[in-house]
Amino acid sequence: MAYVESLSHSGICVHDLKEAESFYCGVLGAAVHSRVNFKTQDALRGRSVHTSLMLSDYLFAIMLSEDWMNIPPLDQLRGENRIRHAFCVPKDKFAQILQSLRNHKVALEGPVTHPETGPFGESIYFRDPTGNFLEVVWRRDESASYNEVLPLGHGGVG
């Protein structure tokens, strides 16, 4: 047993909040959880602008970057810029999500097949509009019973 239950959230930076919301919600099915620094109260507290999205059981705090970030050229579809986030779908839904990404005109690389010795089956690699690296995988261990992920609305369940 590990001493940690799960990863609950990521703060990632984007160049355009509205474009990021449209991508994560429209293409990957995320839902808006909350928005910060869209209000007078927040202006007085000096916080940065971000939208928290729930992508299924994971919270993405999408932060608006106040400077242009160094992003690898967008024609590189697979990689990391320090970090890559990977989401899994059931094996029988993998073809569907691949098609859905193509329908949304998202440039992607793959599928790439992983060794059978590990928990990953196949992956496809793509990027969000800012250029953050993303991956969708199906898992060889999808029937294994692990602890349940407790979705974390920012600051706790709900």
């Binding site: 928005r35 869209f38 007078t40 507290r45 106040e66």
Partner: protein, 315 residues
């Protein structure tokens, strides 16, 4: 405001019908705005609201004055009304204004449509006026209302209300893109004079993360703005960086107020859609025959702004 809307609609608006502003001294205001219009004040007879005085503009829109002991003009804020006028008319107006050159500002704005030279000044009560040069106009003074700006304390809910619930479309937004932050620095360095409310300093927003007021340097940032298509006009909503008292939540009719021309079907649909939410609504009110507005629906948006949907009287 219930965010989980049960129904949405497309609010079909034709243009701003009127801007109703508060003034402290009606005769003084009438003289001032007559000067802007370039003709002796012609009050509209049979204006539906008794204590409001409406002036007709060449475009068919109305500039309406509401006397008030403490006029809510918000002179330090982003709030303003913008009028289109021929360049020659603007020259005449600026020469005749008693504010003097110091009272006229040549700010920049964020919208592309406002990149050309604009001038800004205040009426005697502090209502800020923007004049936009329009070579297609020939009237001797202000010819049409181009846009009006209101404040919001919550840009998230206000966009949900106007766009998701009422179906208005965003023409331009500021503050959601890294480029807006880069541009804001020019203002912070004194290199670009921007209209009030488009940029701001926050005491705690500094170049050292987690800095307390006084530590590090303040960073200039864009202030959130959304511009909504309202037919031929624009409704602009700016985040208020300070708390400004809003009208009580259960009052639907008040001033300052912005009216929009729409059709009867839209008005009735708005009644149905707003009725399913917790929005504060009054009407539809059918005005007396002969009034330039046939029917009105009044409501208060989630941030206390008074809006009116106006249908012209049918023949």
């Amino acid at each position: 405001m219930d965010l989980r809307r049960t129904e949405a609609m497309m609010l079909t608006l034709h243009s701003i019908a009127h801007v109703t502003i508060e003034v402290g001294d009606l005769p003084r205001a009438l003289e001032f705005y007559s000067g802007l219009i370039g003709a002796p004040a012609s009050r509209v007879a049979a204006w539906p609201v008794k204590d409001e005085t409406a002036l007709l503009l060449p475009s068919g829109q109305f500039l309406v004055l509401k006397p008030s002991a403490n006029p809510r003009t918000l002179p330090e804020s982003a709030v303003h009304q913008a009028y289109r006028a021929a360049p020659a008319a603007i020259d005449r107006i600026l020469k005749s204004l008693s504010v003097g050159a110091a009272g006229v500002h040549r700010y920049h704005e964020d919208r592309l449509a406002e990149q050309a030279d604009n001038c800004y000044f205040a009426d005697p009560d502090g209502n800020r006026i923007q004049l936009i040069a329009d070579a297609a106009r020939s009237a001797p003074g202000i010819a049409a209302i181009d846009h009006a700006i209101v404040l919001a304390s919550d840009m998230e809910w206000i966009e949900e209300f106007y766009c998701d619930l009422l179906g208005l479309v965003v023409e331009h937004r500021v503050g959601w893109n890294t480029g807006d932050y880069i541009r804001a620095r020019a203002w912070g360095e004194g290199k670009e004079e921007m209209a009030p409310g488009t940029r701001r300093w926050d005491e705690r927003y500094r170049d050292i993360p987690g800095a307390k007021p006084g530590q590090g340097r303040r960073l200039a940032r864009p202030n959130m703005q959304i511009f909504l298509h309202t037919g031929e006009s624009i409704l602009g909503i700016y985040l208020s960086p300070v708390h400004v008292q809003e009208s009580p939540p259960r009052i639907a009719v008040g001033t300052p107020r912005i009216g929009f021309w729409t059709d009867r079907a839209t008005l009735e649909r708005a009644v149905a859609v707003l009725g399913k939410t917790r929005a504060t609504v009054a009407g539809p009110v059918h005005h007396v025959s002969g009034s330039p507005i046939g029917s009105s629906l009044y409501f208060r948006d989630p941030c206390g702004n008074f809006i009116e949907l106006c249908v012209k009287e049918t023949a």
